[in-house]
Symmetry: C2
Subunit: 195 residues, 2 copies
Protein backbone atom coordinates (compact mmCIF):
# COMPACT_ATOMS: atom_id res chain seq x y z
CA UNK A 1 0.00 0.00 0.00
CA UNK A 2 1.40 3.38 -0.99
CA UNK A 3 0.37 6.53 0.86
CA UNK A 4 -0.46 9.73 -0.99
CA UNK A 5 0.11 13.00 0.84
CA UNK A 6 -3.09 14.93 0.22
CA UNK A 7 -2.08 18.14 1.99
CA UNK A 8 1.02 18.30 -0.21
CA UNK A 9 -1.24 17.87 -3.22
CA UNK A 10 0.45 14.67 -4.40
CA UNK A 11 -2.91 13.51 -5.78
CA UNK A 12 -3.00 16.53 -8.11
CA UNK A 13 0.52 16.10 -9.47
CA UNK A 14 1.48 14.54 -12.81
CA UNK A 15 2.78 11.26 -11.41
CA UNK A 16 -0.48 10.44 -9.68
CA UNK A 17 -2.72 11.95 -12.37
CA UNK A 18 -1.12 9.61 -14.92
CA UNK A 19 -2.50 6.75 -12.84
CA UNK A 20 -5.83 8.37 -11.98
CA UNK A 21 -7.03 11.17 -14.25
CA UNK A 22 -9.57 12.39 -11.69
CA UNK A 23 -6.89 12.92 -9.03
CA UNK A 24 -8.67 11.18 -6.16
CA UNK A 25 -7.76 8.48 -3.69
CA UNK A 26 -8.10 5.57 -3.15
CA UNK A 27 -6.60 3.92 -6.22
CA UNK A 28 -6.24 0.14 -6.54
CA UNK A 29 -3.35 -1.32 -8.56
CA UNK A 30 -3.65 -5.02 -9.41
CA UNK A 31 -0.68 -7.35 -9.89
CA UNK A 32 -1.10 -7.13 -13.68
CA UNK A 33 -0.88 -3.33 -13.53
CA UNK A 34 -4.60 -2.70 -13.95
CA UNK A 35 -5.58 0.52 -12.18
CA UNK A 36 -9.03 0.89 -10.62
CA UNK A 37 -10.07 4.24 -9.15
CA UNK A 38 -13.37 5.37 -7.60
CA UNK A 39 -14.71 3.80 -4.42
CA UNK A 40 -17.76 2.25 -6.06
CA UNK A 41 -15.62 0.58 -8.73
CA UNK A 42 -13.13 -0.78 -6.19
CA UNK A 43 -16.03 -2.15 -4.15
CA UNK A 44 -17.49 -3.80 -7.26
CA UNK A 45 -14.14 -5.48 -7.92
CA UNK A 46 -13.62 -6.87 -4.41
CA UNK A 47 -17.27 -7.81 -3.96
CA UNK A 48 -17.24 -9.91 -7.14
CA UNK A 49 -13.99 -11.79 -6.40
CA UNK A 50 -15.55 -14.78 -4.66
CA UNK A 51 -18.62 -14.95 -6.89
CA UNK A 52 -20.94 -14.20 -3.98
CA UNK A 53 -21.49 -10.44 -3.78
CA UNK A 54 -22.77 -9.11 -0.49
CA UNK A 55 -22.25 -5.35 -0.76
CA UNK A 56 -23.41 -4.62 -4.31
CA UNK A 57 -26.55 -6.77 -4.53
CA UNK A 58 -27.55 -10.39 -5.02
CA UNK A 59 -30.69 -9.97 -7.16
CA UNK A 60 -31.50 -7.48 -9.94
CA UNK A 61 -33.83 -5.59 -7.57
CA UNK A 62 -31.15 -5.43 -4.85
CA UNK A 63 -28.55 -4.28 -7.36
CA UNK A 64 -30.84 -1.53 -8.59
CA UNK A 65 -31.74 -0.31 -5.12
CA UNK A 66 -28.18 -0.46 -3.79
CA UNK A 67 -26.76 1.45 -6.75
CA UNK A 68 -29.53 4.03 -6.50
CA UNK A 69 -29.04 4.60 -2.80
CA UNK A 70 -25.27 4.62 -3.14
CA UNK A 71 -25.46 7.28 -5.83
CA UNK A 72 -27.89 9.25 -3.68
CA UNK A 73 -25.51 8.99 -0.72
CA UNK A 74 -22.80 10.44 -2.94
CA UNK A 75 -24.94 13.21 -4.44
CA UNK A 76 -26.82 14.27 -1.35
CA UNK A 77 -24.18 13.69 1.32
CA UNK A 78 -20.58 12.68 0.61
CA UNK A 79 -19.92 14.71 -2.54
CA UNK A 80 -21.85 17.69 -1.16
CA UNK A 81 -19.71 17.64 1.99
CA UNK A 82 -16.55 17.30 -0.08
CA UNK A 83 -17.44 20.33 -2.20
CA UNK A 84 -18.17 22.28 0.97
CA UNK A 85 -14.78 21.24 2.38
CA UNK A 86 -12.83 22.14 -0.75
CA UNK A 87 -14.69 25.35 -1.58
CA UNK A 88 -16.01 26.98 1.60
CA UNK A 89 -13.35 26.00 4.17
CA UNK A 90 -9.52 26.16 3.90
CA UNK A 91 -9.79 22.57 2.64
CA UNK A 92 -6.41 20.97 1.97
CA UNK A 93 -4.69 24.36 2.14
CA UNK A 94 -3.69 27.02 -0.40
CA UNK A 95 -1.28 24.77 -2.33
CA UNK A 96 -4.10 22.40 -3.23
CA UNK A 97 -7.21 24.61 -3.24
CA UNK A 98 -6.11 26.81 -6.12
CA UNK A 99 -9.68 27.65 -7.07
CA UNK A 100 -12.54 28.01 -4.61
CA UNK A 101 -16.19 28.97 -5.12
CA UNK A 102 -17.42 29.66 -1.59
CA UNK A 103 -21.02 30.35 -2.57
CA UNK A 104 -21.27 26.96 -4.25
CA UNK A 105 -19.55 25.32 -1.31
CA UNK A 106 -21.99 26.76 1.22
CA UNK A 107 -24.91 25.69 -0.92
CA UNK A 108 -23.56 22.15 -0.96
CA UNK A 109 -23.22 22.24 2.83
CA UNK A 110 -26.93 23.05 3.05
CA UNK A 111 -27.66 20.24 0.60
CA UNK A 112 -25.74 17.82 2.85
CA UNK A 113 -27.72 18.88 5.92
CA UNK A 114 -30.94 18.22 4.00
CA UNK A 115 -29.43 14.93 2.92
CA UNK A 116 -29.11 13.91 6.57
CA UNK A 117 -32.84 14.53 7.01
CA UNK A 118 -33.53 12.44 3.93
CA UNK A 119 -31.51 9.46 5.17
CA UNK A 120 -33.16 9.82 8.58
CA UNK A 121 -36.55 9.41 6.89
CA UNK A 122 -35.25 6.35 5.00
CA UNK A 123 -33.88 4.74 8.17
CA UNK A 124 -37.15 5.31 10.02
CA UNK A 125 -38.74 2.69 7.76
CA UNK A 126 -35.91 0.22 7.06
CA UNK A 127 -32.84 -1.06 8.94
CA UNK A 128 -30.24 -0.22 6.28
CA UNK A 129 -29.82 2.51 3.68
CA UNK A 130 -30.83 0.33 0.72
CA UNK A 131 -33.30 -1.93 2.53
CA UNK A 132 -33.02 -5.06 4.63
CA UNK A 133 -29.27 -5.75 4.25
CA UNK A 134 -26.03 -3.90 4.88
CA UNK A 135 -24.55 -2.69 1.58
CA UNK A 136 -22.21 -0.34 -0.22
CA UNK A 137 -24.82 2.39 0.26
CA UNK A 138 -24.41 2.17 4.06
CA UNK A 139 -20.65 2.52 3.64
CA UNK A 140 -21.08 5.70 1.60
CA UNK A 141 -23.40 7.25 4.19
CA UNK A 142 -20.96 6.26 6.95
CA UNK A 143 -18.12 7.95 5.04
CA UNK A 144 -20.27 11.04 4.64
CA UNK A 145 -21.05 11.24 8.34
CA UNK A 146 -17.41 10.69 9.38
CA UNK A 147 -16.38 13.49 7.03
CA UNK A 148 -19.21 15.73 8.29
CA UNK A 149 -18.13 15.14 11.87
CA UNK A 150 -14.56 16.18 11.10
CA UNK A 151 -15.90 19.40 9.56
CA UNK A 152 -18.16 20.09 12.58
CA UNK A 153 -21.35 19.44 10.68
CA UNK A 154 -23.03 17.13 13.20
CA UNK A 155 -26.18 15.18 12.46
CA UNK A 156 -29.13 17.19 13.85
CA UNK A 157 -30.45 15.70 17.14
CA UNK A 158 -33.93 15.29 15.66
CA UNK A 159 -32.58 12.80 13.10
CA UNK A 160 -33.05 10.01 15.63
CA UNK A 161 -33.25 7.11 13.19
CA UNK A 162 -30.08 8.19 11.40
CA UNK A 163 -28.25 8.61 14.72
CA UNK A 164 -29.42 5.19 15.98
CA UNK A 165 -28.29 3.56 12.72
CA UNK A 166 -24.96 5.38 12.94
CA UNK A 167 -24.45 4.13 16.50
CA UNK A 168 -25.04 0.57 15.25
CA UNK A 169 -22.60 1.11 12.39
CA UNK A 170 -19.90 2.31 14.81
CA UNK A 171 -19.87 -1.19 16.28
CA UNK A 172 -18.61 -2.65 13.02
CA UNK A 173 -14.84 -3.30 13.16
CA UNK A 174 -14.27 -1.69 9.76
CA UNK A 175 -15.92 1.52 10.90
CA UNK A 176 -13.96 1.58 14.17
CA UNK A 177 -10.70 1.34 12.26
CA UNK A 178 -11.84 3.93 9.77
CA UNK A 179 -12.71 6.45 12.46
CA UNK A 180 -9.27 6.02 13.99
CA UNK A 181 -7.66 6.57 10.60
CA UNK A 182 -9.72 9.64 9.93
CA UNK A 183 -8.82 11.30 13.18
CA UNK A 184 -5.18 11.29 12.19
CA UNK A 185 -5.99 13.52 9.24
CA UNK A 186 -9.07 15.52 8.45
CA UNK A 187 -8.18 15.07 4.82
CA UNK A 188 -8.51 11.32 4.64
CA UNK A 189 -12.28 11.28 4.46
CA UNK A 190 -12.06 13.43 1.38
CA UNK A 191 -10.74 10.30 -0.26
CA UNK A 192 -13.84 9.11 -2.03
CA UNK A 193 -15.44 12.38 -2.90
CA UNK A 194 -15.36 14.03 -6.28
CA UNK A 195 -13.47 17.27 -6.66
Amino acid sequence: MAKVKLRKGEHKQAGFLAKNYSGTVPLLELDDGTLIAECTAITEYFDALDGAPTLTGRTPREKGLIHMMNKRAELELLDAISVYFHHATPGLGPNVEIYQNAEWGLRQRDKALKGMEYFDAILKRQPFVAGEVFSMADITVIAGLIFAGLLKLPVPAECEALLAWYARMQERPSVKNRVTMSRTSAASSAACAAS
Copy 2:
Protein backbone atom coordinates in the same frame (compact mmCIF):
# COMPACT_ATOMS: atom_id res chain seq x y z
CA MET B 1 -44.29 4.88 -19.51
CA ALA B 2 -45.16 8.24 -17.99
CA LYS B 3 -43.66 11.45 -19.35
CA VAL B 4 -42.38 14.16 -17.05
CA LYS B 5 -42.42 17.73 -18.37
CA LEU B 6 -38.98 19.05 -17.50
CA ARG B 7 -39.47 22.60 -18.72
CA LYS B 8 -42.52 22.89 -16.51
CA GLY B 9 -40.40 21.66 -13.61
CA GLU B 10 -42.57 18.62 -12.92
CA HIS B 11 -39.44 16.76 -11.77
CA LYS B 12 -38.92 19.34 -9.00
CA GLN B 13 -42.49 19.23 -7.69
CA ALA B 14 -43.71 17.35 -4.63
CA GLY B 15 -45.46 14.54 -6.49
CA PHE B 16 -42.34 13.52 -8.37
CA LEU B 17 -39.94 14.24 -5.51
CA ALA B 18 -41.90 11.82 -3.32
CA LYS B 19 -40.94 9.13 -5.83
CA ASN B 20 -37.38 10.35 -6.47
CA TYR B 21 -35.80 12.56 -3.82
CA SER B 22 -33.09 13.76 -6.20
CA GLY B 23 -35.62 15.09 -8.70
CA THR B 24 -34.10 13.55 -11.82
CA VAL B 25 -35.38 11.44 -14.68
CA PRO B 26 -35.47 8.63 -15.66
CA LEU B 27 -37.24 6.77 -12.87
CA LEU B 28 -38.16 3.08 -13.13
CA GLU B 29 -41.25 1.79 -11.31
CA LEU B 30 -41.52 -2.00 -11.04
CA ASP B 31 -44.81 -3.90 -10.89
CA ASP B 32 -44.41 -4.34 -7.12
CA GLY B 33 -44.07 -0.57 -6.68
CA THR B 34 -40.29 -0.57 -6.22
CA LEU B 35 -38.82 2.70 -7.47
CA ILE B 36 -35.33 2.78 -9.00
CA ALA B 37 -33.78 6.11 -9.97
CA GLU B 38 -30.33 6.97 -11.34
CA CYS B 39 -29.20 5.70 -14.75
CA THR B 40 -26.45 3.48 -13.39
CA ALA B 41 -28.84 1.76 -10.99
CA ILE B 42 -31.47 1.21 -13.67
CA THR B 43 -28.79 -0.26 -15.94
CA GLU B 44 -27.63 -2.58 -13.13
CA TYR B 45 -31.21 -3.80 -12.71
CA PHE B 46 -31.89 -4.55 -16.37
CA ASP B 47 -28.42 -5.95 -17.01
CA ALA B 48 -28.81 -8.48 -14.19
CA LEU B 49 -32.30 -9.69 -15.15
CA ASP B 50 -31.19 -12.60 -17.37
CA GLY B 51 -28.22 -13.58 -15.22
CA ALA B 52 -25.77 -12.75 -18.01
CA PRO B 53 -24.66 -9.13 -17.62
CA THR B 54 -23.14 -7.53 -20.70
CA LEU B 55 -23.09 -3.81 -19.86
CA THR B 56 -21.87 -3.83 -16.24
CA GLY B 57 -19.10 -6.42 -16.39
CA ARG B 58 -18.67 -10.18 -16.45
CA THR B 59 -15.53 -10.58 -14.33
CA PRO B 60 -14.37 -8.70 -11.22
CA ARG B 61 -11.77 -6.83 -13.30
CA GLU B 62 -14.34 -5.86 -15.94
CA LYS B 63 -16.78 -4.74 -13.25
CA GLY B 64 -14.12 -2.57 -11.63
CA LEU B 65 -12.99 -0.99 -14.89
CA ILE B 66 -16.52 -0.38 -16.18
CA HIS B 67 -17.68 1.24 -12.95
CA MET B 68 -14.54 3.37 -12.83
CA MET B 69 -14.90 4.58 -16.40
CA ASN B 70 -18.63 5.11 -16.01
CA LYS B 71 -18.07 7.27 -12.95
CA ARG B 72 -15.34 9.15 -14.81
CA ALA B 73 -17.72 9.71 -17.74
CA GLU B 74 -20.18 11.19 -15.27
CA LEU B 75 -17.67 13.34 -13.40
CA GLU B 76 -15.62 14.58 -16.32
CA LEU B 77 -18.28 14.83 -19.01
CA LEU B 78 -22.00 14.26 -18.42
CA ASP B 79 -22.38 15.85 -14.99
CA ALA B 80 -20.02 18.68 -15.93
CA ILE B 81 -22.11 19.45 -19.03
CA SER B 82 -25.29 19.27 -16.98
CA VAL B 83 -23.98 21.77 -14.44
CA TYR B 84 -22.92 24.06 -17.29
CA PHE B 85 -26.42 23.77 -18.79
CA HIS B 86 -28.24 24.46 -15.53
CA HIS B 87 -25.92 27.19 -14.24
CA ALA B 88 -24.34 29.07 -17.16
CA THR B 89 -27.09 28.91 -19.81
CA PRO B 90 -30.85 29.60 -19.47
CA GLY B 91 -31.14 25.86 -18.75
CA LEU B 92 -34.72 24.73 -18.30
CA GLY B 93 -35.93 28.31 -17.94
CA PRO B 94 -36.55 30.66 -15.03
CA ASN B 95 -39.29 28.55 -13.43
CA VAL B 96 -36.86 25.66 -12.93
CA GLU B 97 -33.46 27.35 -12.63
CA ILE B 98 -34.25 29.23 -9.45
CA TYR B 99 -30.59 29.36 -8.40
CA GLN B 100 -27.69 29.65 -10.82
CA ASN B 101 -23.94 29.95 -10.21
CA ALA B 102 -22.58 30.98 -13.61
CA GLU B 103 -18.93 30.96 -12.57
CA TRP B 104 -19.21 27.35 -11.43
CA GLY B 105 -21.14 26.46 -14.58
CA LEU B 106 -18.47 27.88 -16.90
CA ARG B 107 -15.77 26.08 -14.98
CA GLN B 108 -17.63 22.81 -15.44
CA ARG B 109 -17.93 23.54 -19.19
CA ASP B 110 -14.13 23.80 -19.34
CA LYS B 111 -13.87 20.57 -17.35
CA ALA B 112 -16.10 18.84 -19.91
CA LEU B 113 -13.96 20.05 -22.82
CA LYS B 114 -10.88 18.63 -21.06
CA GLY B 115 -12.89 15.46 -20.46
CA MET B 116 -13.32 15.08 -24.22
CA GLU B 117 -9.53 15.19 -24.63
CA TYR B 118 -9.21 12.57 -21.89
CA PHE B 119 -11.64 10.16 -23.56
CA ASP B 120 -9.92 10.79 -26.89
CA ALA B 121 -6.65 9.62 -25.34
CA ILE B 122 -8.40 6.54 -23.92
CA LEU B 123 -9.96 5.65 -27.28
CA LYS B 124 -6.63 5.99 -29.05
CA ARG B 125 -5.49 2.85 -27.25
CA GLN B 126 -8.65 0.75 -26.88
CA PRO B 127 -11.86 0.26 -28.91
CA PHE B 128 -14.34 1.06 -26.12
CA VAL B 129 -14.37 3.39 -23.13
CA ALA B 130 -13.74 0.67 -20.54
CA GLY B 131 -11.61 -1.64 -22.70
CA GLU B 132 -12.35 -4.32 -25.25
CA VAL B 133 -16.14 -4.50 -24.94
CA PHE B 134 -19.08 -2.09 -25.25
CA SER B 135 -20.39 -1.21 -21.77
CA MET B 136 -22.37 1.17 -19.60
CA ALA B 137 -19.37 3.52 -19.71
CA ASP B 138 -19.76 3.95 -23.49
CA ILE B 139 -23.43 4.79 -22.98
CA THR B 140 -22.56 7.51 -20.49
CA VAL B 141 -20.00 9.08 -22.83
CA ILE B 142 -22.53 8.92 -25.68
CA ALA B 143 -25.10 10.69 -23.48
CA GLY B 144 -22.51 13.33 -22.63
CA LEU B 145 -21.67 13.98 -26.28
CA ILE B 146 -25.34 14.14 -27.34
CA PHE B 147 -25.95 16.67 -24.58
CA ALA B 148 -22.81 18.62 -25.51
CA GLY B 149 -23.93 18.74 -29.13
CA LEU B 150 -27.29 20.19 -28.17
CA LEU B 151 -25.50 22.89 -26.18
CA LYS B 152 -23.15 23.70 -29.08
CA LEU B 153 -20.10 22.28 -27.34
CA PRO B 154 -18.78 20.15 -30.20
CA VAL B 155 -15.95 17.66 -29.82
CA PRO B 156 -12.71 19.40 -30.93
CA ALA B 157 -11.62 18.24 -34.40
CA GLU B 158 -8.25 17.08 -33.06
CA CYS B 159 -9.99 14.47 -30.89
CA GLU B 160 -9.91 12.07 -33.82
CA ALA B 161 -10.18 8.84 -31.85
CA LEU B 162 -13.18 10.10 -29.89
CA LEU B 163 -14.88 11.29 -33.08
CA ALA B 164 -14.22 7.97 -34.85
CA TRP B 165 -15.61 6.03 -31.88
CA TYR B 166 -18.64 8.36 -31.78
CA ALA B 167 -19.30 7.76 -35.49
CA ARG B 168 -19.25 4.00 -34.80
CA MET B 169 -21.62 4.46 -31.85
CA GLN B 170 -24.07 6.40 -34.03
CA GLU B 171 -24.62 3.21 -36.03
CA ARG B 172 -26.12 1.49 -33.01
CA PRO B 173 -29.96 1.45 -33.21
CA SER B 174 -30.31 2.58 -29.58
CA VAL B 175 -28.18 5.64 -30.25
CA LYS B 176 -30.07 6.50 -33.44
CA ASN B 177 -33.35 6.44 -31.55
CA ARG B 178 -31.87 8.44 -28.70
CA VAL B 179 -30.59 11.15 -31.00
CA THR B 180 -34.05 11.47 -32.52
CA MET B 181 -35.59 11.76 -29.06
CA SER B 182 -33.09 14.36 -27.95
CA ARG B 183 -33.71 16.60 -30.92
CA THR B 184 -37.30 17.00 -29.84
CA SER B 185 -36.19 18.62 -26.62
CA ALA B 186 -32.84 20.00 -25.58
CA ALA B 187 -33.86 19.12 -22.05
CA SER B 188 -34.08 15.39 -22.43
CA SER B 189 -30.36 14.77 -22.34
CA ALA B 190 -30.28 16.41 -18.94
CA ALA B 191 -32.07 13.30 -17.81
CA CYS B 192 -29.23 11.39 -16.24
CA ALA B 193 -27.14 14.19 -14.90
CA ALA B 194 -26.99 15.32 -11.29
CA SER B 195 -28.44 18.68 -10.39
